[in-house]
């Protein structure tokens, strides 16, 4: 399970690296908040990858540095499509893609966390789960703002706080209990 979690982190690192390099993300002044979010999430996922791999090694296993194979092909296809889109559509697509991949990671950790027999693995996973959930919540809020404003120029700050529409105050948390339907199987990202 830890190797699968490492593979999901490697996937997210690759996803944010590639999406931040898209021409749309480089060119648009309107994506300041999205860039901050993506850059911060990229840094977080690098740290998570290191933590999971150190935990694997401490338990006598082999590090996993390759992206999750199930979603890597999806990512490659999506990146190709995003590169062909208008800047506005591309940035919306980046948010949608990030929500999907972050949700897979968060739901996998919700499912895995209590299942580890190793206390170290449980603690490591629990320390990461909520951060991924916050990435998803922030992305959903950004998506709501993008839909409400034709050309959002906001950065995180008072403007963003006021840009979240009244009807979207709950957009970041659609359920009272976190779902696990997207959770990856335990051995999906195992080193083979």
């Amino acid at each position: 399970m830890l190797q699968t979690q490492a593979s999901l982190e490697a996937l997210l690192v690759k996803a944010y690296q590639r999406t931040l390099a898209l021409a749309a993300m480089q060119a648009m002044a309107t994506t300041a908040a999205l860039k901050v979010l993506a850059t911060t999430a990229l840094s977080h996922h690098r740290s998570h990858l290191n933590l999971f791999n150190h935990s694997v090694e401490a338990l006598g296993g082999q590090q996993q540095t390759s992206p999750d194979p199930r979603y890597e092909s999806l990512l490659t296809g999506q990146l190709t499509q995003l590169a062909k889109m208008s800047p506005e559509n591309a940035t919306s697509g980046v948010v949608e893609l990030a929500i999907t991949l972050e949700s897979v990671a968060a739901e996998t950790y919700v499912k895995n966390g209590p299942a580890f027999s190793s206390g170290r693995a449980r603690e490591a996973t629990a320390s990461v789960t909520g951060i991924e959930a916050q990435h998803v919540a922030a992305l959903r809020a950004l998506q709501a703002i993008q839909k409400a404003l034709p050309a959002p120029t906001l950065s995180f700050g008072a403007d963003a706080g006021r840009a979240l529409p009244a009807s979207a105050g709950d957009v970041g948390f659609p359920n009272a209990f976190y779902e696990t339907s997207l959770a990856s199987p335990a051995d999906e990202g195992a080193v083979r």
Binding site: A133, Q134, G169
Partner: protein, 263 residues
């Protein structure tokens, strides 16, 4: 606010300034704002915890015994509750406290002069989070019922003083948001600790694992409406209210099951 800070809040007295429309609509849309734990219950819960701690009953959770028909304020029956059951009781009490705090905080914020300047998304955020907490409390009590333990209907007595002090200090929407952030961070970190320390796959760990990220989501959007990066940040010294975005959820505000009377 530090853990264990003494209660300073008496009944909150407010002026008659009208609430903003967003606040009013959020309250009207719910129709359930009187369901929550009352301020009196919180204050009694704090006092009752002391009494309950001194007079613990000898209930056990064997299936041959009838369920207790009353709930001792702030306690679970003394006997041999499992660690998971202790976590369930602690979780229910913290969720009850959150329901109470959101109900009272909404009322307080509605009556401030600055209510109309609230960020548009905040009323629905607070109302939805409040409803989530009521569902979380019910889930914990369901687990307690399955172990033939009485429901915990009172708020956490150890955290209530700090919450009452923050409630008494609410003078605008930001005060409500800061109170909410403190509660969400406390809840999330308590559940994170539970997942880490409970053994593999007891029911309580699974419940904690499905609730913890939801509290983190609440916190993320609270940060956003407060004009900050939407993620846990800073340090326990200021209740994680500002600073660098953290890559790992901290545990500085986590409550121990040993904090809970009778546990």
């Amino acid at each position: 606010m530090s853990r264990g800070e003494e209660a300073t809040g008496g009944p909150v007295s407010r002026g008659e300034a009208g609430p903003g429309e967003g606040w009013k609509n959020a309250r009207l849309a719910d129709g359930s704002h009187n369901r929550g734990t009352s301020r009196r219950a919180v204050l009694l819960g704090t006092a009752g915890a002391v009494a309950g701690g001194l007079a613990l009953s000898a209930c056990t959770s064997t299936s041959n015994e009838p369920l207790p028909t009353t709930t001792t304020a702030g306690t679970i029956p003394n006997g041999t509750p499992t660690r998971g059951e202790k976590v369930a009781a602690l979780g229910a009490s913290l969720e009850n406290l959150a329901v109470y705090a959101y109900d009272e905080g909404l009322k307080a914020a509605q009556l401030t002069k600055g209510a109309a300047s609230s960020p548009p998304g905040l009323p629905l955020l607070v109302q939805t989070a409040r409803d989530h907490h009521a569902q979380h409390a019910a889930r914990w009590n369901q687990l307690l019922a399955s172990a033939r333990l009485p429901p915990v209907t009172n708020p956490d007595p150890a955290v209530a003083p700090a919450v009452n002090a923050m409630l008494a200090g609410i003078s605008d929407w930001l005060g409500l948001a800061q109170l909410a952030l403190y509660l969400e961070s406390t809840l999330a970190q308590t559940y994170q600790a539970a997942v880490g320390t409970l053994g593999p796959v007891p029911a309580a760990a699974e419940i904690a694992a499905t609730i913890q990220p939801v509290e983190m989501e609440h916190a993320a959007i609270l940060y956003l409406v407060m004009g900050r990066y939407p993620g846990t940040q800073g340090a326990v010294s200021d209740n994680y209210s500002s600073g660098e975005a953290l890559a790992f959820s901290p545990l500085g505000l986590a409550r121990s099951v040993n904090d809970y009377p009778g546990a």
